[in-house]
Each structure stands twice: as structure tokens, then as C-alpha cells.
């Protein structure tokens, strides 16, 4: 049984077809029950901003703006934050950020070829990628949670919640 007092996060950024970006973070307990949820207002870059930032606008928005602000905004202290987008590993954060996905879903070599990335397995089902060292304690805790709950499921909820946020704006 994992440490029930600890919490961890799910961070995601959605880009809609109309180029609107919205981000959210769920802080969850070890049972996958949310204890905190923060989301950004949907934002759509202006033409001016697109010109100024060029090709880097997506990374700038998702990593340097939305993800960073979301992580700063949370009140809980997660042991780590899970993401499903490798780009978000570049987010500056005082908490470890871990890319997590099923091994059934192929991740291209180009995605993980960055030498800063370390790759590992959680059991036989999940692949993790992270930038800084993951302590054995954190690794074991993540392994323990993955046995206990459907650890990818909150990502679906996060996406649904962000879709909802966009729909009501």
C-alpha cells in the first residue's frame, strides 16, 4: 500500500483545433482521488504573438507559460508530476516531472533520443521518461500506485475537464 498521505500530480495541456490552448493540473492522492484541480483560462495567441514567437510559440506556451504557471499555482506538494507529453519534461519545476505512458503506445525514437532523458519501466505495463534522477523511493512509490490504481485514468479525466472548460468559455 503506498503512502496515503502523499500526493502526486497529473499535468496536461490541450491544444484545440482553433489553436486555443488550455492547461490543467490535478493533484491526486494515492488512490487517484483528486485533492486539487487548477486550470488556466483558454488562451489563443494573437497573430502578433505568432509572428513574434514563430515556431517556438507552442513550446513557449505549453512549457514556459501554462505548465510553469500551473505548477507554481498548486498548494499541495506533490512528490512528482506525471505528464503524457515529452515536451512538458522541459518545464521548470521544483517537483520531478515524469512522462508516463503505456508500453503499448509506441513512442518514437526521436521523442526520447534526447540524451538528457532517462527511460525506465514501471512494472511490465508502463514506460517512464524523466530528466533528473528519480529517487528509488519515488520510483517505488510510483510502482506501488501503478499496481493499486489505473494510473493513466486521471489523464482522461483531466482532458475531459479541460474540454469542458473550453466549452463553457
Amino acid at each position: 500500500m503506498p503512502d496515503v498521505a502523499s500526493v502526486f500530480g497529473y499535468l496536461g495541456i490541450e491544444k484545440k483545433s482553433d489553436e486555443t490552448y488550455v492547461g490543467g493540473i490535478i493533484i491526486s492522492d494515492s488512490y487517484g482521488i483528486p485533492v486539487e484541480f487548477k486550470y488556466t483560462e483558454p488562451i489563443k495567441p494573437t497573430n502578433l504573438q505568432k509572428i513574434l514567437y514563430g515556431k517556438s510559440i507552442e513550446k513557449y506556451l505549453t512549457v514556459d507559460v501554462l505548465s510553469k504557471k500551473l505548477i507554481i499555482s498548486i498548494q499541495e506538494k506533490p512528490r512528482f508530476i506525471l505528464v503524457r507529453d515529452l515536451t512538458l519534461l522541459q518545464t521548470q519545476s521544483k517537483y520531478p516531472i515524469i512522462f508516463l505512458d503505456s508500453i503499448k503506445k509506441e513512442t518514437t525514437d526521436a521523442d526520447t533520443s534526447d540524451e538528457r532523458y532517462r527511460t525506465d519501466m514501471i512494472g511490465k505495463e508502463y514506460k517512464i521518461v524523466y530528466v533528473n534522477n528519480l529517487t528509488s523511493d519515488e520510483y517505488q512509490w510510483l510502482t506501488s500506485i501503478s499496481k493499486e490504481i489505473d494510473i493513466l485514468e486521471p489523464f482522461s479525466r483531466l482532458k475531459e475537464a479541460l474540454d469542458y472548460v473550453c466549452s463553457i468559455k
Binding site: K38, V65, R157, L158
Partner: protein
Amino acid sequence: MKKETGTISVIETDFWFEAGIGDIYSPIAEAVTKEGFYIQETELKITDLEETSSALCSVKGFDSETAGRFDQIIKTAGLEAEAGVFSFETPGLGVCISDFTPPGTGTAIFDESPEETSFLMDQIISFPLYFVKGILVYTEELMEGVRAKNEPLFATIKINASDRVIAQFPMSRLSVSRESYSTGNIKNALTFILDRMNHKPRLRWIGIFRDVPINRIKQLTFSESTLSFTLNSLDRRSIYVLDVLAVFDEVMEKYHIAPIIRG
């Protein structure tokens, strides 16, 4: 710096000129903004510009207050010889004009200061005139609409918190193998359900689901081997998380759950 038709598009600056301004305003069009200086998308209009041949502060076509501002602005101007850049300060802003060329002279100013300039008097006179024209472009809009922002472009993104938003989306639990549960514990759970029935049931096994917050569930449903539920609150106080056994009573067509102890 990249110059586009009728538009300045540089790292920090992007603002619009009306078409047909002409080369006379090219120094403005090539203005290089200093760090932290940013003008939002604004259409700059050239209005009421009149020629003048007198000193710096003598500007026709404007009221005294506007002309006074020009005078104040120009007093803070200076040349940077090595950089080949003319710089001046507007209230709260710093602007540089590179390769400044007084109108009608074809001479670029690369001198160190107005006092030590070797330009002819005609050139010196024309210089502030031209400069005032340039300032006009800025000043007219600066005072009325153009805002200088000293912050990142996406600095105003608001972060919201809402338990209600996330609580309305169902969490799910996949059924787990009954191997983790003793026969005795499964029987106890079934007894818990049967004791609460006052008819002879016909039960169908649905599954065992781990870590269900039984006293926080608002809605609950089953789909194949998945239990989905929404929470009525994210309040963690007095939350009871238990494994549950779920069965379906085919007589009453109802689902029933009972707590089950692992081991």
C-alpha cells in the same frame, strides 16, 4: 530587425503605420526598441504635421501642451556616435533610431552630441524638425492609446481552481482478480448484501473494485468490468476508501455493492 510592408516586426515591437507614409519616416520605421519596450498593436496616425524652420520647441500645428512635451522629450535626446544610433526618451520609454538621416541632407548623423556636431546649421535645424516629426508619430498615440508593457506577452493568463469542475467527471476502477481475496472475505461481502434483501435474489457477479471512496460517491455506474463514479466533494476529511464487491440482482435489476477486505 525585419521590416515588412507598412509594419514593424521585430522581437519586441510590432506596430502599424498607415500606408503612404513615405521614406521621410524611415528612421521611425526602423526604430529599434530598447529592452523591455513594447508597443502593442496600434495603428499610428500622422496628423497635422507642419513644416517649421525654427528651434527645437517651436512646433506648429499643436497646442502648447503638446509642443511642450516635445520640448521636454527632445531635451533628453542624445547621439551615440559609435553605434550610429540616435536615441531619445519619451516619458517612460526609451527609443533608438538607427542611421538617422536629416531630411533633405542625405547625411547620416553619426556625431557624438549636438554640441560637438560638425553639421551645418541647416542640417542642425532640420534635424530637430525631423525629430519632432518622428516624435509626433509616437507622442500622439503614446499619450492617447499606445501602452508600453514591460512584461512578457502572456503574463496575464489567469489560473482558476475548481473542485466542482473536476468532481463532475467520473473516476473509474477496473475490476481486479479475486485471487487477492480469500473465499471467506468474499462470502462475508455477499452475506452483507444478502442480509439486506427481503426477496430471493438471483445474483450475477460483476467484480471486485479496489479503493472506492464509498462515502463520497455521488453517482455510480458499471460498464463491462469498469466501475465509474463521481464524487460529491473533494474534501478528504473522513473519507472511507474501501475495496468493494459488486453484484447485479437480476430479479430486481439492481446493482449492489459490499465492502470487502483484502487478504
